[in-house]
């Protein structure tokens, strides 16, 4: 079943076209990452799916219903983590969750939900006005999970979270998807999407400029990967170039830089160098993700803070991959 479908969905605000002829088809059980820089039209799209904003033209269905006609039925079956929405300062964390459960007629265990999103029973008794930004985001995520929703729509879910919080949220998202739920989430941080998503769509200036698995997109662009290894006694470049998956090698002092057709060739390069000499350090930056994003969004000079985070997250992911291997 197609859980989210849009056909030529368009929204204009005066002269500005925020979303331009968007076609999406998200299938049941999928984790779909909706990527793009700030202002690309991601939130406007989500707000149209949630009937917060009325479309200018085109059509959309969520769980088979048109949001503009059956918002109530949709809301009964989805969990939403909106972007930039403040919670109610005067209500406690527990009151927020209880309210959400009552409104959906759900009988969730409130204490268990607090614990699941990393809030203590004590936190649950405090008014949300005393919460940090990260705690509020955890609570909001818990509210989205109430009532066993068929679809989770998460708009920039990691905003305000520290790296541990982001990691925990990713794990819960994966658990939810394993339970058969569909997850649609937007982000401007690539590494986050890479770690959990089955498929991604990249928005830029209101248009969907690319869609597919990350491997598909990498393949389309033929961007490859790269690795940099510091060794005590570097071999000649030509010795490594015959390795499978290696495109080019440069040697400078004690550093060997290799460009590769894909990340799987990294281990081969490191193993080969380890046989020949002593490996002193490995710098593995999957810059291709950054390149991928920037190629599609024309955002060569990406916001430094954001791209810094993206690289970090990508590195984390790499490290985990390597450890696994």
């Amino acid at each position: 079943m197609t859980v989210i479908e849009t056909n030529d969905l368009t929204k204009t605000f005066g002269d500005l076209t925020a979303v331009d002829s968007l076609n999406l088809a998200i299938e049941e059980g999928e984790i779909y990452g909706f990527l793009g820089p700030n202002g690309a039209g991601k939130s406007t799209t989500i707000n149209m799916l949630l009937d917060l904003i009325r479309r200018s033209s085109g059509s959309a269905t969520v769980l088979g219903y048109d949001p503009e006609e059956n918002a109530k039925k949709i809301r009964q079956r989805i969990g939403v983590l909106p972007e930039g929405g403040e919670l109610y300062d005067r209500l406690t964390g527990r009151e927020h969750l209880t309210w959400m459960a009552n409104s959906k007629g759900a009988d969730d265990d409130i204490e268990a939900m607090l614990e699941r999103v990393g809030l203590s029973a004590e936190d649950g008794k405090r008014p949300v006005g005393e919460y940090s930004k990260g705690m509020q985001q955890r609570l909001a995520f818990g509210m989205a999970l109430i009532g066993d929703p068929d679809l989770l729509i998460l708009d920039e879910p990691s905003s305000g979270l520290d790296p541990t919080g982001m990691q925990e949220m990713r794990e819960i998202i994966k658990e939810e998807a394993d339970g058969g739920r569909t997850v649609f989430f937007s982000s401007h941080i690539l590494g986050e999407v890479e770690a959990v998503c089955d498929r991604v769509g990249i928005m830029n200036e209101g248009r969907l400029v690319a869609e597919g698995t990350l491997d598909d997109l990498r393949g389309d662009l033929d961007l490859g990967a790269s690795i940099s290894v510091e060794v005590s006694d570097p071999p000649r470049a030509s010795a490594l170039e015959s390795l499978d998956g290696v495109r080019g090698v440069t040697v400078r002092d004690h550093t060997v830089d290799a460009t590769l057709t894909g990340p799987e060739a990294k281990v081969r390069v490191v193993t080969d160098l380890d046989d020949r000499t002593t490996v002193e350090d490995i710098i593995s930056e999957d810059t291709s993700l950054e390149q991928l994003f920037n190629t599609y969004t024309g955002n060569g000079e990406a916001n430094t803070a954001d791209s810094g985070q993206a690289v970090e997250s990508a590195e984390e992911a790499e490290t985990r991959q390597e450890v696994a291997q």
């Binding site: 904003i53 109530k72 929405g85 005067r90 309210w99 409104s103 509210m143 989205a144």
Partner: protein, 282 residues
């Protein structure tokens, strides 16, 4: 009922806001002062003291109650739009109409609670100080005053449903208060007097007071309320106060005041629902 769910959650939230209770208590305090004054200095010969107490309460209420109602409700929707919490509210299984009606019911509950408190205090004071309640008049005035308050709550909800920011909602509420209340109550500066001056002194059309009064009733819940309260007082008391309802045309009688007050309850609410149905919440 989804609107009831919105109401319950909103009451939970708003009952912790001190400002609403503060304004309500202020009204109770003013009522007590007016009753005390009559107890000290006496009422009008030949009439129960409580009648003058209620008569004064109507005029104090005419000024105070719109302020209470507007303060209690003008931020109810616009405030949530500005903070973004409305996105959480609209992620629960409700539609937009439920949201507007639920907010209305919640704020109506709060305003009703604070007015009932004031009237219960007034009733107790009447019995203690005046030894007489005039139960029919008392209940009628309480009911009309409550309806008057709810009409202003409906207006505040409509303003709040039509604006996206706190400052615009406040501007709208202040403008409405100024136009329909202050400019009605202060003789000489009133819309009433301005119309009379324009139509009769400048244009010399010779239009009577009744049509002018009707227009001010139409544009102001305050004027409709004041007119409607003539239904509650005994006729000889009204004559004593310098009013002669029999002399006025049918369309400026108390019944018309009551009908227009009801319209001021329903129409703004409908406008609020329609306006909010069309809003972009981004």
């Amino acid at each position: 009922m989804s609107a009831i769910g919105v109401m319950r959650k909103d009451i939970l939230d708003v009952r912790r806001a001190k400002i609403v209770w503060f304004v309500g208590l202020l009204f109770t305090l003013v009522t007590v002062l007016f009753f005390y004054q009559i107890n000290e200095f006496g009422g009008i010969d030949g009439f129960a003291d409580v009648l003058l107490g209620l008569w004064n309460l109507v005029f104090v209420g005419a000024l105070f109650i719109p302020a209470i109602a507007l303060v209690a409700a003008y931020l109810s929707i616009a405030g949530e739009r500005e903070s973004g919490s409305i996105k959480f509210l609209l992620s629960t299984p409700i539609n937009r109409r439920d949201l507007v009606l639920g907010k209305f019911l919640s704020r109506v509950t709060v305003v009703t609670a604070s007015l009932l408190f004031a009237f219960v205090v007034a009733a107790v004071l009447s019995l203690v100080w005046f030894s007489d309640l005039m139960i029919g008049t008392f209940v009628a005035i309480a009911a009309l005053t409550l309806l008057y308050a709810l009409a202003y709550v409906a207006v505040a909800i409509a303003i709040s449903a039509s604006t996206a920011t706190r400052s615009r909602a406040m501007g709208g509420a202040l403008a409405f208060y100024f136009l329909t209340n202050l400019l009605i109550l202060f003789n000489g500066l009133s819309i009433d007097a301005a119309l009379d001056y324009l139509l009769n002194d400048l244009l010399d059309l010779g239009i009577g007071q009744d049509p002018i009064n009707f227009v001010t009733m139409l544009i102001s819940p305050t004027q409709s309320y004041l007119t409607s309260t003539t239904l509650a007082f005994p006729e000889d008391f009204l004559v004593n106060q310098g009013l002669n309802p029999d002399a006025a045309a049918w369309y400026v009688q108390g019944e018309m005041g009551l009908a227009l007050l009801l319209a001021w309850l329903v129409v703004p609410l409908l406008i609020g629902v329609v306006r909010f149905e069309r809003a972009n919440i981004g």
